[in-house]
Structures are given as C-alpha cells and as structure tokens.
Symmetry: C2
Subunit: 627 residues, 2 copies
C-alpha cells in the first residue's frame, strides 16, 4: 500500500525471460560465416557418458541466461546489414500512421507507439528483393545459409549411425536429404517448395524455412479482440508461445490499437509474424464488410508491409461463383476472412477484389518480400462439410494464384483445413500438392471430430500429426479453448506443446534423419532412471517435473531407481537390466547354462534394493554401450 | 472441530453420482426382451426442432437421477437369472481367502472385506459356459441381445440418410454392418472376431462387445500400489473413469489388500474388469519373481475367477527363446508382466510356466468365462524398439496360443504396443490380424514419440486414433502422468476423454453408420449459437462450459449470437447465415440479381446486432432445414 508506482511498471511490457529448465542458449555459426549466428538450446545431461543434447530453438534472445531484453528498444536488427549488402532496396518516408490504423482511439485508450521506429525499406529499380528471386538467380542469401545450418542440427551425428532413418521412414514422395546444404535450401526456395518468410522490414528475424523437405513447423495464433486483452498481454503471448516452440506467430488482432500492438510485437519478435490484413481493413470501415474497398485494403497492405509483417493470409480464392456451394453446409463459412469476402461479393454481386487485384497485391508484397499464405476461406468447419466442392473449388483457384504469385517473384504457401475425419485427410494433402505445384501446405489441425469442445488441441493434434506426416510443412496450432473462448497463457502453452508433438511425430514418421536422436536420448534417460534428464529432454520440463513431484516430491526420488508406478519393491526396468546382464554373459562361451542360472539366482536376492543402495554404476555401464 | 465422526464416514467408499450435465440416464429394451435393459444417456437440446440426442453410456447406475447407490450392497445382479436359465453351472464353496491374498496384512491395515458376498459359480458337466461356446452352438445369449441393442444406437436414424456413412468411410477390410442384429453378434463371437468379456461371477455387468466390427472401445487402468492410494480411492476411480466413458477398467493393483480392494470394485462395477494375475501372484511370493510357481499362479487364477474378473492379461508369449532378443534394445522389457516372466525364465533357465501350462489355464478360464487378453510382454518401450524381432516373435506366439484358447472354448483378445512411430503403426495391425485370426486387438496407445513426458495422453492419443481406424477394437488409455507418476482424478478423466476422442475419430474414419450423427448435432448447435447444446453434446460438458465462462461468464452470453473469439461486432457465423439466406433466394427465379444485391445491402445494416436484438427465429428456421 502507498508504494510508489513507477511509470515503467505500468507501461513497459513484461516478458518472460531466462533459460528453459535444464538448458542454456548457445549460438553456432557455419564455417566462414561468423555473422550467421544460429541459436540452439543445449540440454545438459547428468550422465558423463552422454554428451549435452542440442535442440532446435525458436525462443529468441529471451532464453539467454543473461538476457538483456529491452522491449522499448526491440531485438537486435541482425539482418539489416545482410539486406543492405545485397542492395536493390531503398529507405523512404513510410506511409503516415492514420487514426483509423488504431481504430480511431485517442488519449488514454490509445496504446503507446513503439518508441524506436526506423524508416521502412522497399525494393527499388526492379532488383531482386525476395528470397525466391535471389534463389532463382542462383544467389544463396545469408538467410539460406542460416536456415541450412539451423535445419542440419543433429544430422552429422545421425549420419554416424549404421541405419539411415530416411530408409526407415515413409515420406510419401518428399525429397528429404541426409544433409542440408545452403544450395539445397536455395533450390527448394527456387522451386517454390519452401519459403523463408522474411520481410525486409523485419530485420530482427531469425530466419526459418517452411517446406515439406524441412522440419515440420508450428504456428501459434495470438491477437487482441474487442472483448479482452491489452498490448502487454499480446507481446508476452508472442514471447510465451515461441518459448515453447512456436516457429511463427500470427497476430489475428481485431478491434482497437491494432497498428501499435503489431509494432511492439514485430520489433520484439525473432520469428516470422503473419497477419490477415482484411481484419484490420474491416476495422477501418467500421466493421462493415460491404464498405470494404480495394483502396482501403491496398493501403492496409502497405501499412503492414512497412511495419515488417512476414506473411499475409489472403483469401483471394473465395470467388463469387463458389459462395453458393456453401449454402447446404452444416456450418457454412467458418473462416472469418472467407465470410467477410463472401459477404462483400454477394452484397456487390461482384467478383472478389482480392482476386481481381491479385497482380497488384503481388507487386506490393514482392517489394518487401512478404510471403503469401493463400487463405482457405471456404475450409470446412465440421466433419460433415469436409472435402466438399466448395473447399476443393477454392483450392484449385489457390493453385492458379500460386503460379501468378511465383511469376511475380513472390513466395507462397497455401492454407488448409479445418475439420476433416482421418479417412479424408490424405486426399487434402495429395490434392494440394497437385494443384499448387508443391508449394508448402499450412493447415489448421485438421480436427478429426467435432464432439470434444474443450479438447480441440487433441482432436486436431491427431489430424495435424497425420497431415504433417503426409507432407504438410507447417501446422497451425489449436488450443483447448477453440470454439469456446480466447486462449490464456496456459492454453497457448498447451496448444504449442501439443503441436510440437504432432510436428515431431511427423518428422519421425517421415524418416527425418536426426529426429529420433531426441527420442533415443530421452528413452535412454528413462531406462537409466535419470529423472532430471528425462524431464529436461522433454518438450516441457516444468510440467514433467511437477507431475513427478506430485507422487514423489522428495529430491532423493529424482535419482531413485524406481518410479511411483511400481513402487520400490518391484520395477520392470530393473528386471530388464538383469536380463541384459544375463544375455551378455549368455553370449560368452565360457559360462555354461547351469552355472549362469545359479549365478542369476544369487543375484536375484539383491535386485530389490532401494535407491541409495542401487548399483548405479552397473546401469551406467550398460547405458554407455547403448550410446 | 469436535464433530462426531461417524463410522460410515470413515469406512464407506464415497462415489460420484448424478447425471452428467445436460443429460439423463434412460433404459431401452429390444422388442420382446423386457429383461434386457440397455442404458443410454439422453441429452436434451434447447431447440424444439432438435430431438433429444441419445449416446452410448458406460457409466452404470451411478448417473441415474435418483441413483440409490449402496456400495456395501453392490450393484443389482442383473445377469444372475440369465446365467441360471441357460444352466450348465454349479454353485460351490469357493476357495478360502488366505492371508497372502491381501499381502498378509491384518488388523487396521487390512481393508474391510465386502460385506455382501455370494458363493461362486463355475461351469459343470462340460456344458457350454462361455459366450464363444454358446455362439458356436448357435445359441444367442441375453448378453448378445443386449450388445446388439447397445451397439445399434442411432443406426435407425442413420439409415434414414441418403448417403451411407459406410460407403464414405475406409475400414481396411472390416465388415461393419449397417445394422447390428443379435445374430450378427453371435456370428462375430463364434468366429472369434469379437468377445463379450463377462465372467459368470460378475453378474452386475452391463454386457459390451470388443471387436473390429463394433464401436471402438476404451479401457482405463486403475490400481493401488505400494506407494499410495486406498480402497475408497480405487472404487471411486472406477466409477469416475466409467463416468467419462471407460468401457472396461483394469485393476492393476500391486501391494497389499489386493483381494479385498478388487472385491469392492467388482461388486460395484457395471463394466468388465480386467487384471494381470501375475501381479498378485508376485505379491504372494514376497515380490520375488524367481519364487513364482505354477501352483501359486494357478491358485491366484482361481481366486480371481471366483471373484468375477472378466479378463486376464496373461503374458504367455514371453518365451525363453525370445528374451535375448531384447538385449540390444534401448529400453529392454518395459512390460511389468513381461519382465517378471523374463526374469523367471532366465533364473530357472526354463520355458515360461504360462506357456507350458497354457492348456490348463484355458480350462480354468473357460469354467468361469474369463476372456484372455494375451499380453504383449515384449512390447516396445521406445520409438527405437518398435516393430523389432522380439515384439513380432511374441506376436506370432500369441497367434498360436489364440488358436489353442479358441479350441478350448475361451474368448480371446490380443494386447499390442506401446511406442511406435506413425509410419510403423499399420504393420502392427496387419500382422496382428494375420497372425491371430482376426481376434480383437487391444493396444496401449501407441505413443508416437518419446519426447513429451507429461503429455503422453496426446503422444499416444494420436497413435490410438490411427490404430483404432486401422482395426484395433479397444484402446487402453494413457494418462498425462504416464512415465512420471500415478494418475489422480483429473488425470484419469483427461485420459479417458482423450481416448474417447481417439475411439470416436476411428469410428468416424471407419465409416461407422451412426458415428457422425453426434458430430453433426454438435456442429449444428455450434453454428446456431446454441451454447448449452454445444457443451452438453460434447464429451465433457463441464470443461467446455468452464472454458467458455472464463472469457464470457455471464449467463446472457450462453445465448449470445457471437462468441468471444470475434466479439459482438464481427462474427463469421452470422455472416454465413446471411450468405445462406441470399443463396436460398438466389435459387428462386422471381428475384433478379440486382434486386437481390440491393436487398442484401439493406439487410447488411442490421447484421451487427447484439445478442438481445438478434433474430434468433431466422437462424432456427435455417437450422431446421439442416436437420
């Protein structure tokens, strides 16, 4: 009470910092590229025979041990020199911020503007700007080098193994290499099979690739809405969702303060930020889709291009002629963008202005290297509506638009459903690959049943894992609150972790060369009763530790050679160890069978020992032979 | 303080009673069988145009509105007269309870015995006892009539639809009929493709079927262990897990009071109870696998047969010759039963006594109609060990044992893995069908990655949905605590609901004739903003309602024609409704295009109305046309 309230406490967004439990952030540079510093998360293990384990890291500088985060300053602009070096861009006085950009709010209701803004860049003189243009010109960008190094994590180690994971997997025609070279990245981008979403006005970005021949990625959605939330909450949501593994973040804000909120997010985001520009355009015309115009939309695109948004969802496939195809659906049009465009088309009885002006949209996006995420405005919102004519008619149009965008030099990915029963998932992937020339697919789930509100991270995690296996490049998360409300902090984390599971399960099934290394390391820790290592190698060490502690809270139990499932007197893993010792001796010709049987019987008396007495050394010895 | 503590408060297990939110328990009898009362759960909907919706119900009398539950009395013995009518059984003085049945505890540490016990029954004079024997003899039992009526739920309604769900699904060679007759059930049981686990000493049972051509079922595990839990907790865990949809429950207790705890569970369980008898046998020899004998095991089987256990997990496929195949594994033998048997075999250097005495085991189990659940003691405990020679060698032996058990008149299902990456799941199903003559498969997950301790309900829910689709008849749940600790009340619920999602997603994908009715009803409710109906049609109404209330707690919002995701000013579902109205008019020849465009524009002004003003009638009207 009566404490002094500092302005800083009120104004400065508070974000979560510090390493994830049991790990530290490290940076690694490919040979000859000291300016390419790729972040990794290094998990220390308690067994001296096990090397530290490195994992892909999306969390940005926030998880550095001595993170000096100043959200008012924004993250370091690591890409600025790369962009300037390759040239072809110009700095200019950007579009002036208008009151409607923030919903015409003023005074106390207006979110503070980011204090450290820079003038925007744009492509000039028709020189290459986009990663696709450079790739086609045979130029390997720093972003491509970065991505290759980032994706290669663990592959050298994987190559040491006798059996190739690739041969063991099933990738349904993908072309995953044993090793990723910058040239491979360039080639995939040039062919349109991968994108590196990286607006030249988002130099804070740590580049990443989205493509079927790379690790499966996860997107997390955040956004304020008219009903709840604040600027601070939105920035923290971004930081929170990348902490747990979000590869990209979509800002789906509606309502007020959209512009300023987005600026804070972008300046502090190490991951690509996507938006749906029609949401903001709609706010600018008072929420009435009928009043939308191409000019308003175009102005919004430029506003967001200048801010640094990395990809735009554009529902240009919702054509007038398709709208009536949704009339008999159980759940009609459930995509917000899709329904806005449907309404506009019908009210004016005109073809979609997004479709009509698609060339011009490409020209704008090319100048900043904003990637297309061609929206599936007619995606099914229920099992009943899956794979219907409306959905597939739109997908065919998205294929047509993909080719136009590619011709214009733009990077493209394609959005997919939605609600789809398991038996209808694969046809979505196959049709997308065929119609869209292997442009990366980016799906929402799909949800494999409609009957579990409150658990849609799970109904959709099932579909996401499957479609990821079949070839989807990025999975848009669904939280437990889907259909019910706005996700809170815990929901965001649950959604991201669920989708990391789906993405990893897909990588494993595809035979990604290094994916199984983490499963193996964790399983060795589990078998070896290295509880701390089991927790720390998991996707969420905090939850694993907390769950363990609910039953066995004592610190001593963390090294206990039993788990609470069986209790100290009986443990299957301990017995297995005995079996292994026996089998080893079985192979030695010296010992006769009867002898061994005797020996084992003697040993038996010492099997049920408690943690303190356990022969830790023997188990470790065996584990070494597994490594 | 100083309140009188009644003995009843201390002693009588407290169980959860009362209907699941928004529904009531009803009973339905097939024509001509008034003594076959099949439970259903009827969900009332708020739209007068929507009929009440009936769902399959596993929860027993506990969810009756006026449930008069007396756990000391046990549930009504509904099957006693059926069993007596068909004859061939005798009542006899059962085996005497020995101190070691309860771990030699006495006095206050001994759990109170169930007070209302009956003498056991067993088959006599070689007359048919098992459902398989009756089925083969062409006799349709009351249990088969019960199961047919139970499984048929919704199919009459489904048959009214133009398109067959079966034609729309992919069942990988299953033979799911449009309609289930008692004769179909008999035939499936006779062929060994389905089982009705129903010990003649568990007359409280509400019969259910496990088979590829029936609805996919879910098992929940409960059990006390040396470390924690009490009798009361175990009975409540059973009631709690069937409340949320457990079709069977396995009592995996280790430690003390096993016999008495099991008696309380059985006498109060309307679902089949499974056990792993070797766990109790191990307790009886002081926890030392080497001291196990056939006589001790045999005595334990009879003890549990007399109590009424419906199926036994028996790891008779862990043969001496296979054990060394696990030596190179990352996680060795992780099955408790498997490792006990492996240790015994190696210590004595003898073939498994379960394998050697398999004929005699069959004779015992047949006399009580206890079904086999042939255990996969060599299942993989990590991704690295999936589908290895040890696992498949055991599966081949299980196939051999299946035929022996069938010859003896016993019902059989087969247990499956475990940890399996997505690309290796289907081969498990295909091989099981081939080796085991289509006997029902009963799998634990499988977990599709090892890297998410704390989230293994999800890593395994993915695999469970897939293998259920491929043909697995029952899915053994995995809770979030898997690998970390004992599940609590919330974990059990989460596990069961997750697995109900997996089972339903599988039913949908297989094209089960009536499965999609629930998805459709829920999706209509969702589209119609009938929030209460959306909650109540879901698998967990309480959680759905609580999640919704976190963002929009007011009662008025339950009928709000917007959801918190978009806010009141913009709502895609509202717009879709406008599209639908327009499309309907589009089809009418009277109205010209321009006219309609005008009309729609006028309408537009009224689109953003708040909940109170919304034209609820118009939306309902449209929904009726969907029904």
């Amino acid at each position: 009470m009566n404490k002094i309230t500092r302005t800083a406490d009120l104004m400065v967004p508070k974000v979560t910092t510090g390493p994830i439990a049991g790990s530290r952030k490290v940076y690694s540079s490919p040979e000859g590229h000291s300016d390419v510093r790729v972040p990794l998360r290094e998990i220390a293990l308690t067994d001296p025979a096990e090397p530290t384990f490195r994992v892909y890291d999306t969390s940005g500088p926030y998880t550095e041990s001595d993170a000096a985060i100043d959200v008012e300053q924004g993250l370091p602009r690591i890409r600025t020199s790369w962009i300037e070096e390759r040239g072809g861009v110009e700095s200019y006085e950007g579009r002036e911020i208008k009151p409607e950009d923030n919903g015409n709010v003023a005074g106390a209701a207006l979110a503070r503007d980011f204090p450290n803004k820079q003038k925007p860049l744009r492509g000039a003189n028709g020189a290459p700007v986009t990663q696709l243009e450079f790739a086609r010109a045979g130029i390997i960008t720093k972003e491509m080098i970065y991505v290759a190094h980032r994706e290669n994590l663990g592959r050298e180690k994987a190559l040491e193994r006798a059996a190739s994971a690739l041969a063991n997997g099933e990738s349904f025609g993908a072309a995953i290499p044993e090793f990723i070279t910058p040239e491979f990245v360039r080639d995939e981008v040039a062919r349109g099979r991968a994108i590196i979403p990286a607006n030249i006005n988002h130099p804070e970005l740590e580049p990443m690739a989205i493509g079927r021949n790379f690790l499966v990625k996860v997107n997390a959605n955040i956004g304020n809405s008219a009903v709840t939330s604040s600027v601070e909450e939105e920035v923290e949501k971004m930081v929170w969702s990348i902490r747990w593994g979000g590869d990209t973040v979509m800002d789906l804000s509606t309502g007020r303060n959209i512009h300023n909120t987005r600026e804070w997010i972008l300046r502090n985001s190490p991951v690509p930020i996507g938006t749906v520009p029609i949401y903001q355009a709609l706010e600018k015309c008072g929420g009435d889709p009928i009043k939308l115009t191409w000019e308003l939309y175009r102005d919004t695109l430029i506003e967001q291009c200048e801010q640094g948004v990395d990809y735009f969802t554009i529902h240009a496939g919702v054509r007038l002629a398709y709208i009536h195809l949704t009339a008999e659906r159980v759940t009609g049009i459930v995509s917000r963008g899709g329904s806005i465009m449907a309404k506009w088309c019908l009210a004016h009885h005109k073809e979609s202005f997004l479709y009509e002006h698609f060339d011009e949209i490409c020209d704008i996006m090319r100048a900043y290297d904003v990637s297309f995420s061609l929206g599936d405005g007619l995606r099914p919102g229920s099992i009943a509506d899956a794979n219907d004519r409306a959905q597939f008619a739109e997908l065919e149009t998205l294929g047509e638009l993909t080719k136009i965008a590619w011709d214009k030099g733009c990077q493209v990915m394609i959005e997919g459903p939605g609600h789809v029963p398991m038996n209808k998932i694969k046809i979505n992937m196959d049709k997308q690959l065929a119609e869209c020339g292997e442009a990366p697919f980016y799906t929402l789930g799909p949800l494999t049943t409609d009957i579990a509100p409150g658990y849609d991270h799970i109904t959709s995690g099932i579909g996401a894992a499957m479609i990821g296996w079949f070839g989807t490049a990025m999975l848009c998360y669904v939280t437990p609150k889907e259909h019910l409300g706005l996700p809170n902090r815990d929901d965001v984390k649950t959604g991201v972790v669920t989708y990391r599971i789906a993405a990893h399960a897909a990588d494993l099934a595809k035979g990604h060369p290094a994916a199984q290394l983490r499963d193996d390391a964790l399983s060795r820790a589990r078998f070896d009763f290295r509880w701390q290592d089991q927790f720390n190698l998991g996707l969420d060490p905090d939850t694993a530790r907390a769950f363990h502690d609910e039953t066995l809270p004592k610190e001593a139990h963390k090294v206990a050679h039993f788990c609470s499932m069986c209790g100290p007197k009986f443990c299957s893993m301990k017995i297995t160890q005995d079996v292994r010792d026996y089998a080893a001796t079985l192979n030695s010709k010296e010992a006769g069978m009867t002898e061994m049987s005797e020996k084992f019987r003697e040993m038996g008396g010492n099997v049920y020992v408690d943690a303190e007495q356990a022969d830790a050394e023997a188990i470790k010895q065996s584990n070494r032979s597994l490594g």
